[in-house]
Each structure stands twice: as C-alpha cells, then as structure tokens.
Assembly symmetry: C2
Homo-oligomer: 238 residues x 2
DNA sequence: GACACAATTTACGTATGCATTATCAGGGAG
DNA sequence: CTCCCTGATAATGCATACGTAAATTGTGTC
C-alpha cells in the first residue's frame, strides 16, 4: 500500500475494482486527493476551478464535482472566489480525529474478535506486525508506518461493517499528512509491536472485550502522543 | 458538514439558521434530502436528473451536485442511466449503523461527562427527558421520538467534536426512515426515560466511564431491538 | 410466438456560455 | 501617507449545448 490514498488502498483490496476510470470526475477526485495527501498541495494551498481544470486537462465541470466530494470528506473547504483551500490540521483537529478513531477502531477490534478470524487474515495481521518489527529494527520509520497502516486497515476491513470502514478511512485521510510529518519527530514506536501482538492474541483467542480495550488504549496513547507533540512544536498548520 | 441534514430538522436548536439559501445546489440538496427523509421518496425510488431539475425548477447542474452529495452520505446510489435511487435500509444495515452509533454516542457521553456540563445544557437535557416522559404518558410516540432525537442530538453536540457530530448525523439520517417506520411496531419504550435519566445523572456527576457505559448499553439495546424487529417482520426495504 | 438485431430515443458526462458579484487596482480626498 | 470610492477584472454558479452510449422500441426471421 503506497503512502497515498486510503481510498486507493481500499479499491485494491475490494473485490469490485473500479477499473473503468473512464470518468473524468473520478480522475479529478483521485488526482486532487493524491496531491493533498502527498503534500504537493500543503495546508492552506488554494486552487481555482479553472486552474485545476487546466492542470488536469479537462473542463471545470468534473473538477467542480471532485471538489465538492473533497469538501464533504473534510479535506478542503470551498470559498466562493478563492477556489478550494486545503484544510490545515491542527492539534485540536488531531485530538478530534483520534478521539473518534479510538472508538471506531475499538469496536472494529471487538467485532473481529467476536466474529472470529480465519487463518488467512490472522496470518496477514501477524505478518503486518512482523513487518513493523523488521522496519523498526532497520530504523525505517516509513516502512514501519506503512506496516502499521496496513495492520489497522486490515483490521477494520475484517469488521465487515461498511460504514465503519468508510468512516475510519475518512478520518485516516484527514490525519494522514500530520502523521507523515510527525513521523520523524515522534519518539520511536518501540512498544507498537508488543501492543499489536497483544491485540492479535486477544482477537485470535476470541476475547472481544480485551481486544477492544487493548486497541482503544493503543489508539488513545498514539493520539495523545501526537497531539502533545503537535502542541509542543506549535504545529497548527499541518 | 452538510448544511441541512440532521441539523435542519432541529434547526430550532441550531443557532445559525441558513437563511441565505441563495444557492441552488443547496436548495436541491435540502429538498431532495427532505423528500427522502420524509418518505416521499421511498426506498428504491428513482429520480432522473432532469426529472428532479424540472420538479425543483432549476437546471441539471445544481441537481447533479446535490445528488453527488447525497450519494456520499449514503442516502442514494447513482446508476448511470437510472438517475439516483433511494437506498433501502435492511436489517443488516441497521445493525451496522447501530454498531457504529453505539460507539460514537458512547464517547460523546463520555466526553461530555469528562468536560463537565453547564447548567443550561444540563437543564436542556433534562427537559428532553421530561418531554419523553410526557409524550409516553400521552401515548404519543411521534413526540416521544422527537424528544428522544433532541436528547441524543444535544448530547452529541455537547461533545464539541465536529467530526463526531457530523458522523453521528449521517448515521442518524440513514436510519431515520427505519426508525420512523418501526415506531408504531416496536414495543413501547417504557425504560427509555429511566435510562436517559441515569445517563444525565452520570454526566452531571462527572462520571465519564459510567456515562459511556450507560449510553452504550442504551444504544446497543435499542439497536438490537430494532434489528430483531426488522428481521422478524422481514422488512428489508425500509 | 419467441428471439435476434437494427433504429431510435434518451440520460448522462462533459464542455461551454453567460450573468452575477466579489476582488483588486488606481485615483482622489482627507 | 492613509483611507475611501469607483471601475476593471475575474471566478463563480448555473444554464445550456453536444457527443456518446445505454436502453428501448420496432422489425423481420425462424
């Protein structure tokens, strides 16, 4: 999974892969979102409809549709004469995001533990944990982040709750830039492997309450750390 | 956040009443959504862009934008040659919705209890509970539902978490029709007053864990009841 | 009567046109 | 030098135009 869009990751796993990218509005949506997630359009950056249309080699119509979608996802705001503006993510935003994420991923873990997990996805989760471990030992934070995302993504997918999946994805996208930018500034996530392993064990042994508790604690801790880090650094424009 | 949705239904609460509706796309969005929530466009109903445009006395352009927004909110699907189609809500959907709602409203209650609640909003919550009581004694289920919604809405608002507020609103909207349609079929919510009162007490006394627990149990029970009711009645097209 | 295929209709996706109105520059008043 | 007012500029929101492709209707064959 590339460090790009959650949505892309979704579609790569989802059975019905939308192959037919014959749709300009979708193209615009994907490309604009990619620009934002990758930081090519940083917080506060503005882009006019016509500007984006020229850049994407299409008319304003599909661009406009894409912008409306991005606005609804909380990625940008649309201001009448200034085009879309990439929303900054403040420490307060991250606190909001992680508060919700904690609850949502908590019930995802609970649901998976309750439903029981097949051998294949269980192995996949363990593999992600192993990858995190390897990346940490190699001092490769980017790979660690990738494996971490993969773990959480798979877990949520396994819940089978489409609304849960969609909402978590949206929150992840909102937090993506802040996570990436703080990756090098945050303390090394040495405990993450143990924590994830404990979660997998709780799931494997079919203990929903523990699974939820562990994951909530995990996310809450991560959120607290990130928020404090952002506040300490005075970063309010990520 | 959607300008209308849940918020407008209870606009008496919302401070900023959107008077400026000079925007056709917003008008289209509001009116189409209203049609769906009120059941004028029942599940499975289809409406072409041109059809809606004529009906709303505008061109296809703003109608199209409205439809895109409704799609992203999970209210309709858009099928290339058949316009938008109002999505049915199955028992399984309700299970999904309530699973997420339980978690989200749970942390909302927790957050409010943790932050502490001022006298005014506290009184407002108690008033909603009192209204529920009155409505129940009068055998007026519609009023009961209204007061119940108002209670939950205010509670979530008090959390101050805009993302939480938005997501809960979206889920409520999705579940709205099913709730209304089962209102007369479900057992009388005799316990609801006691449960809500207990939650208010937990919040007033600043007990986040209890508040969360109580609200989660409350929502879980309500969800379970609704899902079972829908399954029993074989209602999969609400 | 059923079915295959062609002609026609039509809904959509996108491009473009246009009136409105916010923004910005420039000049004059204080 | 600063501020206000006015006209030019430009971005938007919406309407409309248009080509494409799906759906539907009609026709002929078996």
């Amino acid at each position: 999974m590339s460090p790009t869009s959650r949505v892309d990751a979704l579609s790569s796993i989802d059975a019905a892969a939308p192959v037919d990218r014959s749709n300009q509005a979708d193209v615009a949506y994907d490309r604009l979102k990619r620009l934002i997630l990758d930081g090519a359009l940083p917080a506060g950056a503005q882009m006019l409809e016509q500007e984006a249309a020229t850049r994407l080699n299409m008319s304003r119509t599909p661009v406009r549709e894409a912008m409306v979608r991005l606005r609804q996802e909380g990625m940008v705001e649309i201001r009448p004469r200034h085009g879309m503006r990439v929303l900054p993510v403040s420490a307060r935003d991250m606190a909001e995001i992680y508060e919700v994420l904690t609850a949502l991923e908590g019930i995802a873990a609970e649901a998976v533990a309750r439903k029981g997990i097949a051998a294949r996805p269980l192995a996949s989760l363990r593999a992600a944990v192993a990858d995190m471990d390897k990346a940490l030992e190699a001092g490769d934070l980017v790979n660690w982040a990738e494996a971490d995302e993969r773990f959480h993504f798979q877990l949520v997918q396994l819940s089978g709750n489409s609304r849960l999946i969609q909402m978590v994805g949206q929150l992840w996208d909102q937090a993506h830039r802040a996570r990436m930018l703080t990756l090098q500034l945050r303390p090394t996530p040495t405990n993450s492997v143990t924590e994830h392993a404990a979660l997998v064990d709780a799931i494997a042994s079919g203990d929903p309450e523990s699974a939820r508790q562990i994951h909530e604690d995990h996310r809450r801790r991560a959120g607290k750390m990130l928020v404090e880090l952002l506040e300490r650094l005075g970063l309010t424009q990520l």
